[in-house]
Amino acid sequence: MAENNDGITSVTYSEVGTGSVTRASFGAMCEGCSGAIDDSAKPKGGDLVEAGCSAPVTADPAVARPLDLTGSDSGPSLQCAVTLSASSLLAMNSPQMLYALCEFSLRRASVSADRMPLNLALVVDCSTSMQGARIGYLKAALLDLLDGLQAGDRLSVIAYSDRATVAAESTFVTEKRKLAGAIANLTTGGGTEIYQGLVAGLRQVRRYARDFRRNHVILLTDGRTYGDEEACLAEARTARREDVSISALGIGNDWNDVFLDALARQGGGICRFVKDPSKTSELLALHIRGIAHAPLSEVALSVRLPAWARLQSAFRVEPFLETLELVQGEPYSMGVLDSGTLSLVFELIVQQPVAGDWRFAHLVFEGRIGEEQVSLRRDLGVRMTEGDPMPGTLPARLLSAVARLNVFRLQERAWQKLELGDVVEASWLLESAASRLSEMGESDLAHETMAEARRLESDGVPSLRGQKEIRYGTRFLPLR
């Protein structure tokens, strides 16, 4: 097992077979075994499980390689830094919590300056509530976006209210005049039925999806849809399977953040809060840059655990906070990875009474760089000791990550309690979140959160704006 000065404990190997390791002792594993998790292996009380590694562990000997105990990835493109809350735990027959921060990033050589051509659809809310300054700012933002797109990009524009109209069929952006004309001619009137617009937008993107690596729908709305939410979510799931992603920009205070969050999550995209309509242009530009320059796409993560470890929860913490609904062994689609880092936190409950070096998780991280399929497989290990382990310093970066998700989770729980009618608990949770934010130095957001807690206490209802400020403010807290 490799352990560096930061107390990071990890073992990396480049390929994994389908055998079994009956004792997760890394010293024994290095003896010609490529290793894999045997979920059925359970330690017998007081006895060490036999150290025998079955070999060969894969039907294809060419695939199996010896373990790399140096901690370096043999894959050329991806790397992963792992930080644990403790590298040693007391071996005991009762559960204890362990946190793992996993930071995936591309090796410098893999980060290409090339921008991927985009196949884009804009689904624009043109309901009555958008009239006036809102549609004005939005049109200006869409024209700016059009200016920023490049030859090779495709764009379509769909206007929707209580029905959908294709204002501009999918066209190469070299036909700028036609697209700009369609944007300028957007008018408002009617209700809000997102489903019609979404389906129309997806239809436009799907026509040319095979020719592009980046197929994306952006939904822009200031309101709420009624009765078609489930249909929209089903469309988003289908689109994601086809590698067509969907993101949402909610403008102002009145849109349904729970629904748009779910839509973006199911659609493999992101939901953003445009609190100031004059900032729409800026946010759209940021969003497009992230998609177009993302060198790694079709990112998927899977986790496997032994019987004595359980995944309590998993979160993406960078570039934004998101709860991950991971199911053990099943790939979880995470969309694209831009040139920055994808940071994940796993909260695990482990119960291991036998001393020794144990692997508590196996991660598989996969994606595509251009035409190349890449993957990284990583074991996470911990040492169980018979005596109390030496206390160590909690790594600052892990603490920062867990502190952020702590606040994120407190405010999410507050809104859930409010949905159930428990105003007192919701207010208390927001107060707790405010205190944590204050301790983190996030004064503005702390004040906003405390104000919302007080408003709940006195009025029983939150402000729409405050709720969104807190939800999206905590989601995008920077990892220090």
Binding site: S94, M97, L394, L429, S432, R436, S438, S443
Partner: protein, 178 residues
């Protein structure tokens, strides 16, 4: 192998957390140490010590029942009863510091508030404030208090703890409180 529970009871809400938990799963309190601990001292300032107030400077009704404290930086107002001593500072659950007037959410850490910064209490119709050897001091209307020397404050006075200013309004009779 040892059989050991090692559960962590949250000092804030008493929720029982598993060993190794960093933040209480119920209330989010930081369990290893209760949050930021250190109060950074401001740079040295030369200030006159406050003179003791004589009894003729504080004419308060013997029926004084409470005070309203307004945090001037945040406009937050808190009503406090005279029934018991009021600890003023920053919450630190892990070390059992639970101030009645918790200034954490008012930017307490940045404004130089110590966890146990000062205490206030009413005695024989008068209100006192006593600095508890805080890092950045306590002032009544810009006059620095000596540590552990209670000083009387009056209705309308501005108390400065660290760099956080609190205006106090003293209530008499039936008008309070927490």
């Amino acid at each position: 192998m040892m059989e050991k529970s090692g559960s962590i009871v949250c000092p804030s809400c008493q929720y029982v957390n598993l060993p190794g938990t960093l933040f209480c799963l119920r209330c989010g309190t930081y369990l290893p140490s209760g949050g930021p601990l250190r109060t950074e001292p401001f740079e040295e300032q030369q200030l006159e010590r406050a003179a003791r107030y004589g009894p003729d400077l504080a004419e308060l009704d013997a029926r004084t029942t409470g005070i309203e404290v307004e945090v001037l930086e945040t406009n937050r107002k808190v009503l406090l009863s005279a029934d018991s001593e009021i600890l003023v500072g920053r919450l630190d659950a892990a070390h059992g510091v639970f101030p009645e007037l918790d200034l954490t959410s008012d930017g307490g850490l940045e404004q130089g508030i110590s966890r146990r910064h000062a205490r206030m209490y009413a005695h024989e119709g008068k209100w006192y404030i006593e600095d508890l050897d805080s890092t950045n001091g306590t002032f009544i209307n810009d006059e620095l208090l000596a540590s552990y020397v209670p000083m009387i404050f009056s209705d309308g006075d501005v108390l400065t703890l660290g760099s956080l200013r609190l205006r106090v309004k003293v209530y008499c009779g039936e008008s309070s409180l927490r």
